[in-house]
Amino acid sequence: MRRADEDDFRDYVAGRLPALRRTAYLFCHDWHRADDLVAVTLGKLYRSWSRARRVERLDAYVHRIMLNAWQDEGRRESRHGRDRELPADGPAPSGPDVVERLDQLELLRRLPERQRAAVVLRFYCDLSVQETAAALGVTDGTVKSLTSRGLAGLRLILGGSR
Protein backbone atom coordinates (compact mmCIF):
# COMPACT_ATOMS: atom_id res chain seq x y z
CA MET A 1 0.00 0.00 0.00
CA ARG A 2 1.28 3.45 -0.85
CA ARG A 3 2.16 5.76 1.99
CA ALA A 4 -0.60 8.19 1.05
CA ASP A 5 -3.18 5.40 1.05
CA GLU A 6 -1.98 4.20 4.42
CA ASP A 7 -2.21 7.70 5.80
CA ASP A 8 -5.79 7.87 4.55
CA PHE A 9 -6.51 4.56 6.26
CA ARG A 10 -5.06 5.82 9.52
CA ASP A 11 -7.10 9.01 9.27
CA TYR A 12 -10.26 7.04 8.67
CA VAL A 13 -9.61 4.77 11.64
CA ALA A 14 -8.77 7.70 13.89
CA GLY A 15 -12.01 9.42 12.98
CA ARG A 16 -14.32 6.45 13.06
CA LEU A 17 -12.91 4.20 15.75
CA PRO A 18 -15.23 5.33 18.57
CA ALA A 19 -18.32 4.83 16.44
CA LEU A 20 -17.11 1.48 15.16
CA ARG A 21 -16.50 0.27 18.70
CA ARG A 22 -19.99 1.27 19.73
CA THR A 23 -21.53 -0.50 16.77
CA ALA A 24 -19.50 -3.61 17.50
CA TYR A 25 -20.61 -3.46 21.11
CA LEU A 26 -24.24 -3.42 20.03
CA PHE A 27 -23.63 -6.62 18.09
CA CYS A 28 -21.81 -8.57 20.79
CA HIS A 29 -22.51 -6.70 24.06
CA ASP A 30 -19.01 -7.12 25.39
CA TRP A 31 -16.31 -4.50 25.05
CA HIS A 32 -13.44 -6.99 24.77
CA ARG A 33 -15.16 -8.84 22.00
CA ALA A 34 -16.16 -5.57 20.42
CA ASP A 35 -12.54 -4.49 20.24
CA ASP A 36 -11.56 -7.82 18.73
CA LEU A 37 -14.34 -7.50 16.22
CA VAL A 38 -13.23 -3.99 15.29
CA ALA A 39 -9.64 -5.16 14.91
CA VAL A 40 -10.71 -7.93 12.56
CA THR A 41 -12.91 -5.53 10.63
CA LEU A 42 -10.13 -3.01 10.20
CA GLY A 43 -7.72 -5.74 9.11
CA LYS A 44 -10.10 -6.76 6.36
CA LEU A 45 -10.66 -3.13 5.46
CA TYR A 46 -6.92 -2.54 5.23
CA ARG A 47 -6.59 -5.39 2.78
CA SER A 48 -9.18 -3.87 0.47
CA TRP A 49 -8.43 -0.23 1.23
CA SER A 50 -7.36 0.77 -2.27
CA ARG A 51 -10.80 -0.24 -3.48
CA ALA A 52 -12.80 0.55 -0.40
CA ARG A 53 -11.67 4.15 -0.10
CA ARG A 54 -13.45 4.92 -3.35
CA VAL A 55 -16.73 3.46 -2.17
CA GLU A 56 -19.42 6.10 -1.98
CA ARG A 57 -20.70 5.06 1.44
CA LEU A 58 -17.60 3.82 3.14
CA ASP A 59 -19.20 3.48 6.56
CA ALA A 60 -21.85 1.19 5.16
CA TYR A 61 -19.15 -0.89 3.54
CA VAL A 62 -17.29 -1.17 6.83
CA HIS A 63 -20.42 -2.08 8.74
CA ARG A 64 -20.99 -4.87 6.26
CA ILE A 65 -17.49 -6.20 6.89
CA MET A 66 -18.11 -6.04 10.61
CA LEU A 67 -21.40 -7.84 10.39
CA ASN A 68 -19.85 -10.61 8.30
CA ALA A 69 -17.02 -11.02 10.80
CA TRP A 70 -19.48 -11.20 13.65
CA GLN A 71 -21.62 -13.77 11.87
CA ASP A 72 -18.53 -15.79 10.99
CA GLU A 73 -17.62 -15.94 14.64
CA GLY A 74 -21.13 -17.05 15.55
CA ARG A 75 -20.97 -19.86 13.01
CA ARG A 76 -17.56 -20.89 14.30
CA GLU A 77 -18.83 -21.04 17.86
CA SER A 78 -21.80 -23.06 16.72
CA ARG A 79 -19.51 -25.56 15.05
CA HIS A 80 -17.73 -25.97 18.34
CA GLY A 81 -21.01 -26.53 20.13
CA ARG A 82 -21.07 -23.20 21.90
CA ASP A 83 -23.89 -20.77 21.97
CA ARG A 84 -22.89 -17.18 21.55
CA GLU A 85 -22.62 -15.70 24.99
CA LEU A 86 -23.82 -12.29 25.90
CA PRO A 87 -21.88 -11.57 29.05
CA ALA A 88 -22.70 -8.64 31.25
CA ASP A 89 -20.07 -5.97 30.88
CA GLY A 90 -19.26 -3.90 33.91
CA PRO A 91 -21.46 -3.01 36.83
CA ALA A 92 -25.14 -2.46 36.26
CA PRO A 93 -26.06 1.20 36.04
CA SER A 94 -27.85 2.69 38.97
CA GLY A 95 -30.04 5.71 39.52
CA PRO A 96 -33.65 6.72 39.37
CA ASP A 97 -34.07 5.78 35.73
CA VAL A 98 -32.28 2.47 36.00
CA VAL A 99 -35.32 0.40 35.09
CA GLU A 100 -35.94 2.17 31.83
CA ARG A 101 -32.28 2.32 30.87
CA LEU A 102 -31.81 -1.37 31.52
CA ASP A 103 -34.80 -2.04 29.35
CA GLN A 104 -33.13 -0.37 26.42
CA LEU A 105 -30.07 -2.54 26.80
CA GLU A 106 -31.93 -5.74 27.43
CA LEU A 107 -34.15 -5.09 24.48
CA LEU A 108 -31.34 -5.32 22.05
CA ARG A 109 -29.65 -8.21 23.78
CA ARG A 110 -32.78 -10.31 23.71
CA LEU A 111 -33.59 -9.81 20.07
CA PRO A 112 -32.70 -12.66 17.72
CA GLU A 113 -29.38 -11.97 16.06
CA ARG A 114 -30.71 -11.10 12.64
CA GLN A 115 -33.32 -8.77 14.07
CA ARG A 116 -30.72 -7.17 16.27
CA ALA A 117 -28.35 -6.73 13.33
CA ALA A 118 -31.09 -5.23 11.19
CA VAL A 119 -32.14 -2.77 13.89
CA VAL A 120 -28.55 -1.74 14.61
CA LEU A 121 -27.65 -1.26 10.97
CA ARG A 122 -30.86 0.55 10.05
CA PHE A 123 -31.42 2.75 13.05
CA TYR A 124 -28.08 3.09 14.76
CA CYS A 125 -25.76 3.09 11.76
CA ASP A 126 -28.26 4.85 9.49
CA LEU A 127 -27.91 2.37 6.66
CA SER A 128 -30.65 2.42 4.07
CA VAL A 129 -32.95 -0.54 3.59
CA GLN A 130 -30.97 -1.50 0.51
CA GLU A 131 -27.63 -1.23 2.29
CA THR A 132 -28.91 -3.22 5.24
CA ALA A 133 -30.25 -5.86 2.89
CA ALA A 134 -26.89 -6.10 1.16
CA ALA A 135 -25.08 -6.40 4.48
CA LEU A 136 -27.40 -9.12 5.72
CA GLY A 137 -27.60 -10.86 2.38
CA VAL A 138 -31.38 -10.69 2.28
CA THR A 139 -34.03 -8.89 0.29
CA ASP A 140 -35.34 -5.42 1.04
CA GLY A 141 -38.61 -6.93 2.14
CA THR A 142 -36.86 -9.17 4.63
CA VAL A 143 -35.08 -6.18 6.11
CA LYS A 144 -38.38 -4.40 6.56
CA SER A 145 -39.80 -7.47 8.21
CA LEU A 146 -36.80 -7.93 10.49
CA THR A 147 -36.74 -4.32 11.59
CA SER A 148 -40.49 -4.23 12.04
CA ARG A 149 -40.40 -7.30 14.26
CA GLY A 150 -37.36 -6.02 16.07
CA LEU A 151 -38.95 -2.70 16.86
CA ALA A 152 -42.17 -4.40 17.82
CA GLY A 153 -40.27 -6.61 20.20
CA LEU A 154 -38.65 -3.57 21.69
CA ARG A 155 -41.95 -1.91 22.30
CA LEU A 156 -43.38 -5.05 23.87
CA ILE A 157 -40.53 -5.37 26.30
CA LEU A 158 -40.59 -1.72 27.14
CA GLY A 159 -44.32 -1.72 27.54
CA GLY A 160 -44.25 -4.75 29.75
CA SER A 161 -41.77 -3.22 32.16
CA ARG A 162 -43.70 -0.08 32.83
Binding site: R10, W31, R33, D36, A39
Partner: protein, 267 residues
Protein backbone atom coordinates in the same frame (compact mmCIF):
# COMPACT_ATOMS: atom_id res chain seq x y z
CA UNK B 1 -35.17 6.66 15.31
CA UNK B 2 -32.61 9.14 16.57
CA UNK B 3 -34.24 8.59 19.96
CA UNK B 4 -33.22 4.96 19.82
CA UNK B 5 -29.67 5.88 18.99
CA UNK B 6 -29.54 8.39 21.81
CA UNK B 7 -30.89 5.84 24.26
CA UNK B 8 -28.41 3.22 23.18
CA UNK B 9 -25.53 5.69 23.38
CA UNK B 10 -26.62 6.69 26.84
CA UNK B 11 -26.93 3.10 27.95
CA UNK B 12 -23.52 2.17 26.64
CA UNK B 13 -22.01 5.04 28.55
CA UNK B 14 -18.35 5.88 28.28
CA UNK B 15 -16.53 2.93 26.69
CA UNK B 16 -13.42 1.52 28.34
CA UNK B 17 -10.07 2.37 26.84
CA UNK B 18 -9.72 0.88 23.41
CA UNK B 19 -7.39 -2.05 22.84
CA UNK B 20 -7.57 -1.53 19.08
CA UNK B 21 -4.22 -0.36 17.79
CA UNK B 22 -3.96 0.57 14.18
CA UNK B 23 -0.21 -0.03 14.11
CA UNK B 24 -0.74 -3.62 15.14
CA UNK B 25 -3.40 -4.10 12.52
CA UNK B 26 -1.25 -2.66 9.77
CA UNK B 27 1.78 -4.64 10.90
CA UNK B 28 -0.22 -7.86 10.96
CA UNK B 29 -1.62 -7.26 7.50
CA UNK B 30 1.81 -6.48 6.12
CA UNK B 31 3.14 -9.71 7.52
CA UNK B 32 0.19 -11.59 6.12
CA UNK B 33 0.82 -10.12 2.69
CA UNK B 34 4.51 -10.90 2.80
CA UNK B 35 3.78 -14.44 3.84
CA UNK B 36 1.29 -14.81 1.01
CA UNK B 37 3.57 -13.29 -1.57
CA UNK B 38 6.39 -15.49 -0.36
CA UNK B 39 4.25 -18.54 -0.86
CA UNK B 40 4.80 -19.66 2.68
CA UNK B 41 2.35 -22.18 4.01
CA UNK B 42 0.97 -20.55 7.07
CA UNK B 43 -1.07 -22.18 9.74
CA UNK B 44 -3.41 -19.85 11.57
CA UNK B 45 -1.60 -19.93 14.85
CA UNK B 46 1.78 -19.63 13.20
CA UNK B 47 0.81 -16.29 11.78
CA UNK B 48 0.02 -15.13 15.24
CA UNK B 49 3.29 -16.36 16.57
CA UNK B 50 5.31 -14.80 13.80
CA UNK B 51 5.91 -11.40 15.14
CA UNK B 52 5.00 -8.27 16.96
CA UNK B 53 4.63 -4.66 16.11
CA UNK B 54 7.45 -2.63 17.54
CA UNK B 55 5.47 0.56 17.34
CA UNK B 56 3.93 1.55 20.62
CA UNK B 57 0.38 2.76 20.87
CA UNK B 58 1.62 6.22 21.61
CA UNK B 59 3.43 6.28 18.30
CA UNK B 60 6.91 5.92 19.74
CA UNK B 61 9.22 3.22 18.46
CA UNK B 62 9.91 1.27 21.60
CA UNK B 63 12.45 -0.96 20.03
CA UNK B 64 14.62 1.87 18.87
CA UNK B 65 16.73 1.74 21.97
CA UNK B 66 17.39 -1.94 21.76
CA UNK B 67 17.54 -2.68 18.08
CA UNK B 68 20.87 -2.01 16.42
CA UNK B 69 20.75 0.86 14.02
CA UNK B 70 22.51 -1.10 11.32
CA UNK B 71 22.47 -4.55 12.80
CA UNK B 72 21.90 -7.86 11.15
CA UNK B 73 18.85 -8.17 9.00
CA UNK B 74 15.99 -9.92 10.68
CA UNK B 75 14.56 -12.29 8.13
CA UNK B 76 10.85 -12.85 7.79
CA UNK B 77 10.20 -16.16 9.39
CA UNK B 78 6.91 -17.91 9.82
CA UNK B 79 7.37 -20.77 12.24
CA UNK B 80 5.32 -23.87 11.80
CA UNK B 81 5.52 -25.95 14.89
CA UNK B 82 4.71 -29.57 14.78
CA UNK B 83 3.04 -31.29 17.65
CA UNK B 84 5.05 -33.27 20.17
CA UNK B 85 6.17 -36.67 19.08
CA UNK B 86 4.53 -39.90 20.06
CA UNK B 87 5.96 -41.83 22.99
CA UNK B 88 9.20 -43.47 22.05
CA UNK B 89 9.71 -41.31 19.01
CA UNK B 90 12.10 -38.38 19.06
CA UNK B 91 10.32 -35.02 19.11
CA UNK B 92 9.53 -33.70 15.69
CA UNK B 93 11.44 -30.66 14.65
CA UNK B 94 9.46 -27.52 13.90
CA UNK B 95 9.55 -26.68 10.25
CA UNK B 96 10.78 -23.15 9.94
CA UNK B 97 12.96 -21.16 7.73
CA UNK B 98 16.24 -20.54 9.49
CA UNK B 99 15.50 -17.83 12.03
CA UNK B 100 17.86 -14.93 11.99
CA UNK B 101 17.54 -13.10 15.26
CA UNK B 102 18.47 -9.49 15.63
CA UNK B 103 20.85 -8.44 18.30
CA UNK B 104 18.97 -8.88 21.52
CA UNK B 105 19.09 -6.70 24.59
CA UNK B 106 21.92 -7.90 26.76
CA UNK B 107 20.70 -9.88 29.73
CA UNK B 108 17.08 -10.05 28.65
CA UNK B 109 17.16 -13.77 27.96
CA UNK B 110 18.63 -14.46 31.35
CA UNK B 111 16.11 -12.36 33.22
CA UNK B 112 13.20 -13.82 31.31
CA UNK B 113 14.47 -17.35 31.80
CA UNK B 114 14.87 -16.82 35.53
CA UNK B 115 11.36 -15.41 35.81
CA UNK B 116 9.85 -18.27 33.85
CA UNK B 117 11.80 -20.87 35.79
CA UNK B 118 10.55 -19.45 39.07
CA UNK B 119 6.96 -19.53 37.85
CA UNK B 120 7.31 -23.01 36.35
CA UNK B 121 8.67 -24.34 39.63
CA UNK B 122 5.26 -23.65 41.16
CA UNK B 123 3.47 -25.78 38.60
CA UNK B 124 3.28 -29.48 39.49
CA UNK B 125 2.73 -30.39 35.85
CA UNK B 126 6.12 -28.94 34.98
CA UNK B 127 8.18 -31.00 37.39
CA UNK B 128 9.81 -32.97 34.61
CA UNK B 129 10.96 -31.12 31.54
CA UNK B 130 13.24 -31.98 28.66
CA UNK B 131 15.03 -29.88 26.04
CA UNK B 132 12.99 -28.98 22.98
CA UNK B 133 14.03 -28.91 19.38
CA UNK B 134 13.15 -25.67 17.64
CA UNK B 135 14.30 -24.62 14.22
CA UNK B 136 16.61 -27.58 13.96
CA UNK B 137 18.41 -26.77 17.19
CA UNK B 138 17.97 -28.20 20.62
CA UNK B 139 17.36 -25.66 23.36
CA UNK B 140 17.47 -26.25 27.10
CA UNK B 141 14.05 -26.50 28.66
CA UNK B 142 12.36 -23.13 29.12
CA UNK B 143 15.47 -21.14 28.35
CA UNK B 144 14.65 -18.08 26.26
CA UNK B 145 16.43 -17.41 23.03
CA UNK B 146 15.93 -15.03 20.11
CA UNK B 147 13.11 -16.54 18.17
CA UNK B 148 11.39 -15.89 14.89
CA UNK B 149 10.97 -12.30 13.97
CA UNK B 150 10.54 -10.01 11.06
CA UNK B 151 12.14 -6.75 10.17
CA UNK B 152 9.22 -4.61 11.17
CA UNK B 153 7.99 -6.44 14.19
CA UNK B 154 11.21 -6.32 16.16
CA UNK B 155 12.11 -8.65 18.94
CA UNK B 156 10.62 -11.95 19.83
CA UNK B 157 11.87 -14.35 22.45
CA UNK B 158 10.89 -17.97 22.67
CA UNK B 159 11.26 -20.58 25.35
CA UNK B 160 10.22 -24.17 24.80
CA UNK B 161 10.22 -27.44 26.65
CA UNK B 162 9.07 -30.99 26.25
CA UNK B 163 6.90 -31.89 29.21
CA UNK B 164 7.15 -35.31 30.78
CA UNK B 165 4.88 -37.12 33.16
CA UNK B 166 6.14 -38.27 36.53
CA UNK B 167 6.90 -41.60 34.91
CA UNK B 168 8.89 -39.91 32.17
CA UNK B 169 6.40 -40.38 29.37
CA UNK B 170 5.84 -37.51 26.89
CA UNK B 171 3.01 -35.28 28.08
CA UNK B 172 3.26 -32.58 25.46
CA UNK B 173 5.09 -29.38 24.75
CA UNK B 174 5.12 -25.89 26.21
CA UNK B 175 6.02 -22.80 24.19
CA UNK B 176 6.30 -19.30 25.62
CA UNK B 177 6.73 -16.31 23.34
CA UNK B 178 7.55 -12.85 24.62
CA UNK B 179 7.14 -9.91 22.27
CA UNK B 180 6.58 -6.21 22.25
CA UNK B 181 3.02 -5.25 21.36
CA UNK B 182 2.46 -8.57 19.71
CA UNK B 183 -0.64 -9.70 17.91
CA UNK B 184 -2.80 -11.63 20.30
CA UNK B 185 -4.24 -13.92 17.67
CA UNK B 186 -7.36 -14.51 19.65
CA UNK B 187 -9.77 -12.62 17.49
CA UNK B 188 -13.28 -13.51 16.47
CA UNK B 189 -12.09 -14.85 13.15
CA UNK B 190 -9.18 -16.88 14.43
CA UNK B 191 -9.14 -20.62 13.98
CA UNK B 192 -10.17 -22.99 16.67
CA UNK B 193 -12.38 -22.66 19.68
CA UNK B 194 -14.07 -19.61 21.02
CA UNK B 195 -11.96 -16.93 22.59
CA UNK B 196 -12.44 -16.03 26.22
CA UNK B 197 -11.28 -12.61 27.31
CA UNK B 198 -10.62 -11.46 30.84
CA UNK B 199 -8.57 -8.93 32.77
CA UNK B 200 -5.62 -9.69 35.01
CA UNK B 201 -5.03 -8.09 38.39
CA UNK B 202 -2.66 -5.55 36.91
CA UNK B 203 -4.89 -4.60 34.00
CA UNK B 204 -3.51 -7.27 31.71
CA UNK B 205 -5.74 -8.39 28.86
CA UNK B 206 -5.88 -12.18 28.90
CA UNK B 207 -7.25 -14.17 26.00
CA UNK B 208 -7.57 -17.92 25.98
CA UNK B 209 -8.88 -20.64 23.77
CA UNK B 210 -8.64 -24.38 23.47
CA UNK B 211 -8.38 -26.40 20.29
CA UNK B 212 -9.32 -30.02 20.25
CA UNK B 213 -8.78 -31.75 16.99
CA UNK B 214 -6.67 -31.40 13.91
CA UNK B 215 -3.87 -28.94 14.52
CA UNK B 216 -1.56 -28.85 11.54
CA UNK B 217 -2.30 -32.38 10.57
CA UNK B 218 -2.16 -33.94 14.00
CA UNK B 219 -4.94 -34.75 16.40
CA UNK B 220 -3.97 -32.91 19.54
CA UNK B 221 -5.35 -30.70 22.25
CA UNK B 222 -3.85 -27.23 22.25
CA UNK B 223 -4.40 -24.59 24.88
CA UNK B 224 -3.45 -21.04 23.96
CA UNK B 225 -3.27 -18.08 26.32
CA UNK B 226 -2.09 -14.61 25.44
CA UNK B 227 -1.35 -11.93 27.98
CA UNK B 228 -1.04 -8.29 26.99
CA UNK B 229 0.65 -6.35 29.74
CA UNK B 230 0.21 -2.63 30.24
CA UNK B 231 3.96 -2.12 29.68
CA UNK B 232 3.62 -3.35 26.09
CA UNK B 233 4.87 -6.88 26.65
CA UNK B 234 2.80 -9.57 24.99
CA UNK B 235 3.17 -13.19 26.02
CA UNK B 236 1.82 -16.10 24.08
CA UNK B 237 1.76 -19.39 25.90
CA UNK B 238 0.98 -22.59 24.06
CA UNK B 239 0.51 -26.00 25.63
CA UNK B 240 0.21 -28.86 23.15
CA UNK B 241 -0.82 -32.30 24.25
CA UNK B 242 0.79 -35.36 22.70
CA UNK B 243 -0.71 -36.61 19.42
CA UNK B 244 -3.82 -38.59 20.15
CA UNK B 245 -3.82 -37.46 23.75
CA UNK B 246 -6.94 -35.98 25.28
CA UNK B 247 -5.35 -33.21 27.31
CA UNK B 248 -2.65 -30.62 27.14
CA UNK B 249 0.04 -30.59 29.81
CA UNK B 250 -1.25 -27.28 31.18
CA UNK B 251 -4.73 -25.83 31.30
CA UNK B 252 -5.79 -22.21 30.82
CA UNK B 253 -5.43 -21.38 34.51
CA UNK B 254 -1.88 -22.72 34.68
CA UNK B 255 -0.82 -20.95 31.48
CA UNK B 256 -2.35 -17.75 32.80
CA UNK B 257 -0.38 -18.05 36.03
CA UNK B 258 2.80 -18.39 34.01
CA UNK B 259 1.88 -15.45 31.83
CA UNK B 260 1.27 -13.21 34.82
CA UNK B 261 4.53 -14.16 36.50
CA UNK B 262 6.51 -11.17 37.73
CA UNK B 263 9.56 -10.45 35.66
CA UNK B 264 8.21 -11.84 32.42
CA UNK B 265 8.42 -8.47 30.71
CA UNK B 266 10.72 -6.98 28.16
CA UNK B 267 12.82 -4.01 29.26
Amino acid sequence: MSDLRALLDEQMGEPPASTVRVDRIIGRERRRRRARVGGTAVAGLAVVLAGASAVRPDGGDRSAGTRPAAGPTCATVIPRFTAPASPGVPPASPTTAAPVAPELPAGAEGALTAALAAAAAEEPALRRLAPAEVGGRTHPALRFFGGPCDQRSGLTYLAAAEVRTAAGAPAGRLLVYVQLDGDTGCTPTGDGGACTVSRGPGGEVIRSRTFDGDVQGQDIVRVLVTVEKPDGTTLQLVADGPPGGRRAPLDVAALTRLGLAPGLSLP
